[in-house]
């Protein structure tokens, strides 16, 4: 197969536990990662709540899937765009988010930040530059 690599962006706009969207998006990303495309994720609106640190679902009898975001690097998903305005509107800063990293195999597994903080305007440009955009 000599297909050209396409740029895929997954838009995450929902909070994690009130609906199934966040978990579904994560599963689709992990399955889709098998197809060797250039995959990135964007967290905006309530989607920024998905990657808030310190989640503990023991009291609501649901699976805490927040640790799974840390596995994205293993699946070669290394670009996680987070919209600054969405954080601000929610009284959050980047320090309230999980410290998501990926390991660069070409540089002796050096740890690098996955989170890329962008403004609304910058995210619009990121979206513009994609071949395919999936919305959750």
């Amino acid at each position: 197969m000599s297909e050209e690599i396409k740029k895929f962006l997954y838009l995450n706009r929902r909070a994690p536990y009130g609906s199934i969207y966040a978990w579904e998006a994560l599963e689709v990303v992990l399955i889709g990662a098998a197809f060797d495309q250039d995959v990135s994720l964007a967290f905006l609106d309530d989607g920024v709540y998905q990657i808030v640190k310190g989640q503990d679902t023991a009291g609501i009898d649901m699976k805490n899937f927040s640790p799974t975001y840390s596995a994205l690097g293993d699946y070669e998903v290394t670009k996680l765009y987070v919209e600054k305005e969405s954080l601000e509107e929610r009284g959050l800063t980047v320090d309230d988010l999980m410290d998501l990293k990926w390991e660069d195999e070409d540089e002796d597994w050096a740890e690098k930040d996955s989170i890329i903080l962008v403004s609304r305007e910058e995210l619009a440009k990121v979206i513009e530059g994609q071949d395919v955009v999936f919305s959750f």
């Binding site: 599963e27 992990l30 399955i31 990662a33 098998a34 699976k63 805490n64 899937f65 640790p67 799974t68 840390s70 596995a71 293993d74 699946y75 195999e105 597994w109």
Partner: protein, 110 residues
């Protein structure tokens, strides 16, 4: 479906994966392996233990290529290839090893 382990009946799904992760004890792997005609060696256990640790940390069973790469990093390059892993787990390192480890079928396993 179900399997008998240490006199207890543990529920499994239609593909033979444990329904409750917490039911797992090492004998689960031994019994499932025997049913598949395999004798578990320390090399098998390296992979099974690795999978359980991966699940514990990330809450998912890794896809085969993720497993392969991670095993190469952790257990050495000579083990981080699908030939080695398929030799240990002929029905597929993802599917078969995850089943022995009491995990769900890997996410991203087609």
């Amino acid at each position: 479906m179900a399997i008998e382990v240490n006199g207890k009946t543990l529920e499994t799904d239609e593909e033979g994966y444990l329904v409750n992760l917490n039911d797992w004890v090492p004998e689960v792997a031994e019994i499932m392996a025997k049913e598949d005609g395999l004798e578990l060696t320390p090399e098998h256990w390296d992979i099974i233990n690795f999978l359980r640790e991966y699940y514990e940390e990330y809450q998912i069973a890794p896809a085969v290529r993720v497993l392969t790469k991670a095993v190469g990093k952790k257990l050495g390059k000579e083990k981080g290839n699908s030939k080695y892993l398929y030799a240990l787990f002929p029905y597929g390192p993802g599917k078969q090893a995850c089943r022995f480890a009491g995990l769900p079928k890997p996410t991203g396993c087609i």
